[in-house]
């Protein structure tokens, strides 16, 4: 298993909003790599003293001495206001304020940057930061609209003719498109993505734009054009997937991997049926080399091909590659349901959320006033688009939303649903399965509005999954079947109870879909997880 950055369990300061899950980390990497960050050596300082100040500030910031770094940056701006490093120092100040949680200080420095250095390329980065701050603080569509407006300023103020090589513009277009998709504006998003792909110099952001454009075209039914773009992205600079040398530096491996996943899903769900083939042609048993007694939950990462299985009778957690390979196991008390945030596995237990391979844990206070005790009887949990947590717990006929371990609230309480499972869609929006009303609901960005995606007729809906194409999978424990719907709720097909290979479902409890569309079904009466491939 490759090393990954361990995100904190709660709201992450580096997260611009948990949209497509790779983005926050990518954004940070690009910020440093492309000169917007603070560690890069100054290129054209007019004054050697300014350059020394800048380097000293960057060194101190890197060493974690934020206060001293702030002083150096401030001194630079004060002493050398006309130096090319002054606006970069202001960006450094903004970053430091944000790192220390001082939003007000960050906004002050941004104002100075955008007022006094309005035509510098750092100002373009300033608008980007302003947009990211707005996304982080967003609590609904209006806030996102505001954030999008900040992003949109960059291409308007920093056009391609005057600033042909400005990478911040491509990033702004992509971020604006991402927010636009969240806001339900795929056409506007496509316009921005096409501009990013065609009008901007190549960068990781143009690669990202191609991924989003391909996906958006698939979503809007323009399959062939979408697949063509995704295939080109998957091919970018990589004739041999195992060769590090052949990977294009301007397309991230994550974007290429996601493109491959979408292509695989399209093949399975589009091309095979068109050719009269079944979506899944084989049935396999998972994991290999680990004996299960009663699997109670399964989850699949869309990023790294890992699958997490929970066996509540044994108190066992198994992490293994979807295509086969050595598994890792952990013993846990009362494991209920597994999940992934980005590519990091977590397990919902009776009263907390655990990173079983990292040791971190998180518990929540009951949201109702006056009961200062930890929430228990948890059923499922998923992280939302803004880094917040959504939980289901027995006895709570509502969706519980936590923006902090102690700041929770009930959603959907008035509808009296019976939510039994929840997950997130490709854009990070929360979707839950309401067993009482036989429906799948997607939460609006404002937390209160919701949209019914699927109205079913199930006997005992138990689990929910959504794949990279937005297709919805509902496990009906009563029918011992998996019902599959298109993103718009149209029934597509069903699976079970006969799975092939002599496997028959008897007590299915959980489902998951991996990046290539394999369907995992955990059945408590089977000593393995059934995999449809």
């Amino acid at each position: 298993m490759r090393q990954v950055d361990r995100p904190s369990l709660f709201l992450e300061s580096d997260s611009p909003g948990g949209l497509p899950k790779v983005l926050p980390r990518l954004a940070a990497a690009v910020l440093l790599a492309l000169g917007l960050g603070l560690s890069a050596a100054p290129a054209a300082a007019q004054d050697a003293a300014a350059a020394r100040l800048f380097q000293e500030a960057a060194r101190k910031a890197e060493a974690g001495d934020f206060g001293a770094a702030l002083d150096e940056y401030r001194l630079l701006v004060r002493q050398f206001p006309r130096d090319t490093l002054a606006p970069r120092a202001l960006l450094g100040i903004v970053d430091l304020y944000r790192a220390t949680g001082d939003e007000r200080g960050a906004r002050g420095a941004l104002d100075t940057l955008l007022t006094d250095y309005a035509r510098t390329i750092e100002a373009a980065s300033g608008f980007l930061v302003q947009g990211e701050m707005a996304v982080s603080a967003a609590s609904g569509p209006a806030d996102l609209q505001e954030a999008r407006a900040e992003f949109r300023r960059v291409p308007l103020l920093f056009g391609t003719t005057a600033y042909p090589d400005l990478e911040a513009r491509a990033r702004a277009r992509v971020r604006s498109a991402e927010v636009g998709l969240l806001l339900g504006d795929p056409e506007g998003a496509k316009a921005e993505l096409v501009a990013a792909v065609e009008d901007e110099p190549p960068s990781p952001w143009t690669g990202r734009a191609r991924l989003l454009l391909g996906r958006t075209l698939l979503d809007s039914g323009d399959w062939v054009a979408g697949l063509e773009i995704l295939q080109r992205l998957a091919d970018s600079g990589a004739l041999d997937p195992d060769s590090a040398e052949s990977t294009s530096p301007i397309v991230t491996e994550t974007d290429r991997a996601q493109a491959r996943h979408l292509l695989s899903l399209a093949h399975r769900h589009r091309l095979r049926p068109a050719a009269g083939q079944k979506r899944w042609t084989d049935t396999e048993r998972f994991p290999q080399g680990v004996a299960l007694r009663s699997p109670s939950g399964v989850a699949a990462s869309l990023e790294n091909g890992q699958v997490l299985v929970v066996d509540d009778r044994q108190g066992l957690v198994v992490l293994a590659p979807s295509g086969g390979g050595p598994a890792q196991t952990r013993q846990l008390e009362d494991p209920v349901r597994p999940g992934f945030y980005r590519d990091v596995p977590y397990v919902v237990t009776d009263d907390k959320i655990l990173l079983p391979f990292d040791g971190q844990r998180l518990s929540f206070l009951e949201p109702r006033t006056g009961k200062a005790r930890d929430l228990d009887d948890l059923r499922a949990a998923v992280r939302g688009p803004f880094g917040d947590w959504f939980l289901l717990a027995k006895g709570w006929k509502s969706l519980l939303h936590f923006t902090g371990p102690r700041t929770g609230q009930e959603l959907l309480g008035t509808l009296r649903p019976d939510p039994v499972d929840l997950t997130s869609d490709p854009l990070g929006r929360v979707v839950l399965l309401d067993a009482r009303n036989d429906r799948v609901i997607r939460m609006g960005l404002g937390r209160r509005a919701q949209q019914t995606l699927v109205q079913g007729d199930w006997r005992r809906p138990q689990a929910l999954a959504i794949d990279g194409l937005g297709q919805i999978y509902v496990l009906d424990r009563g029918e011992k079947q998996v019902f599959i719907y298109g993103p718009e709720g149209r029934p597509i097909t069903t699976v079970g109870p006969q799975l092939g290979g002599g496997i028959v479902l008897s007590a299915p409890v959980d489902i998951a879909v991996d990046s290539s569309g394999r369907l995992y079904i955990a059945d408590s009466k089977l000593p393995f997880v059934a995999v449809l491939d």
Partner: protein, 788 residues
Amino acid sequence: MHTHHDLRPAPLAAAGAAPRRLPFCRVASNLGPVSRLALLLATLGLLLPAIVAPPLAVAQTLPQIEEEDLDESQTPIAEVTDPGIDLGQVQQLFDEAEAVFQSADQPASLPLFGRVVDLLESLRLTRGLDPAARDLLVRSLSYRGQVQFNLGMTELVDASLRQMLEVNSDADLDRDLVSPKLATQFDRLRKSLVGEITFILDPPDAEVRVDGEVVDALSGPVGVLTGLRTLLVSRPGHGSIERQLEVTGGSGVSLDLVLPRESAVLRLNTRPQETEVRVDGQVVGSTGGVAPEGFLPEGAAAVYRRDEFSDELVVEGVDPGLKVLEVVREGYRTYRAELQIVDLLDYQMPPIVLEPESGKIQLDDFPPGAEILIDGEPRVPDVAGTTRPQVTLPPGEYHLTVTSGAARMFSTHLRVADRQTVPVRVRLRPGLTFLGVLGADRSSARTVDQTLRRTMAESSKWTLVNRAEEGPRLLAPLGLDAAGMRALEASSPSAPQIDWRAVQAEADRRAPGLVYVLAVLDNDLVASEATLWIWPAAPGPPRPEKVRVPVGDPASYAEVRGMFERTVPLRRPFIGALVIDSDAVPHPVVADVAPASPAAEAGLAVGDQILGIAGITVTTRSELEARIVASESGELIQLAVQAAGGPARTVDLRLGASPWVMSQRDPGLLDAVAYPELVLLEEKTPREQRWLVQLDRALVLLRAGEHEAAVRSLRDIRAPQRSHGVNQATVDYWLGLALWRVGPEFRDAARQALERAAQVPGARLDHDDEAWVAPRAAARLEALAGGG
């Protein structure tokens, strides 16, 4: 009666003597044309020894001579420093004195003549006088004597006349002008001071010197001042006679002298002057001076002027026998001749012309109308109007450039050796003009300069024109200096505003090429990287592109060369199917088949796996594409295919030919390089494919922000009218974008163009197997509608 034999300039026949044929004369085989001509002339008897005089044996009649030991004190030696006298001024002073003499105030001329006399005497004692100056002194003394005579200064008259005779013992007064009394006084004085000697010489043209001064012994008796005089009679090829003779005033003696013949003599003039002459390898003299009036170059030498030849060099001491004569001068081919010297005679060589050493450059495949530059200077070929002109050059190293307009150049460095013809095949290529390196780190600048030039010199596609010396000087007035360029690269607020159109114009005018490269070091002290600023000549877009290279990393420069080597292909094979990879299967899968395409005709269907091509298994779409791209349009390829759930089968697919639009964002392709290449490409592209080149050019302009120029180009393009692939809808798409970017007043026109593009669902953006136009056009329309 004295016999005078004029040795020059005429051939000896003119001297009345029978020409003598050189019995044997062989010229070394390496002689040039002129020398060969001399050989021919020699063979024909025209290269003749001069017979100076018949070997008369005349008995010497010695005068009465009282021999005395020479007394050194009698030698008029004066310690006079060179007064630095200007003879022109002396002549001027004389003219003034003469004018005064002829005026009413004749006595006033006395001091003037005195001054002239003093000056010339001073000169005579220091460095001697030439005949003209000597004559001027004599005339001055004559005038002075006349004035003194007229003033009754009898004693002074005698002094002047005496001095006059001392200067020239043959001097005389103009008896028509002077007083008879003065003439009588002069004659009396002369008689007391001058004796006469009559020389009868054999050979008659022997040179006679009296006290070292050459006298004319041929014209009659020679006046000699009284006293003990030293006579020296000599002639080349003869023994000399030296005698001392006491001359008394009014006496007349006759000397009959016969000089014994001792050796043969060669007489020669050379072109050029100042050559070294060798006989049998021994240096026997050097030619110099200028051939005198009367010298007439003849034969092959007649094409040259007299003053291009040296004065005659007389080589004596030549023994009879076979002799090798060599005339040598650096930069010229050595003249070499073998001479058979039979008799002890004088041999007059015909004028010897040394040919300059030279080689030739022969230019093969020389295009009509092209210009030749040798080391930057225009040069007319030896014979113009041929496809294989030659240029003759002295031996050395040269930088040869052939240009046919600014668009095509050929440049090479070559070495020319004497008598060598260097064949050079002219391959005109686009000119890449290197304008030098900006930045004060001289060591790094040198490294960049040398590495870049060395690397680009290996280009098979471009001709590097090195203008590194003058480039920075040309560009400085336009604001292109190291600091400014760095600020520009860093998008610094202090960056200068550069008018790149003016830069283009200046470079086009002063250092023409198709593409320009200027290197800027990142640091003036210790540079580690250089940024190469690259821009095309007009009408290419006036926008530079930048490539950064480590100062001393040849591999990076080779990558840059690779960017210049890239070609702009116009066609590529296509199959007409969208093939994708899927993790669910081990081989690429057909996702879409275009109607009436090669794939459709071959029977490919959606869901088919492509197992292999031409017998080679493929596991990814890019492997398949690589095979297809490596094939030729029209080629029949075999695909191993497996339909869903069916058996594997083999299909034959004939590859189609698709237009190939230059990639929009190919990081390895520089617009600055592509544009001029497209200009050249358009000329040699068949008419039916030119629209594609025009589209590529328009796209370069569009990327460079030259929106109006892009619109003008795009509007004229007529692409094939077809429903699928790259077609007119592709052009409309880019036209719509270009119009949009020109300004808001063209938004309607932009929308119409984009709408036309959006309505052709089969249209592709850059290749018949690749990106679709319609969804992009729809997205652009959306942005247009949203005011983007």
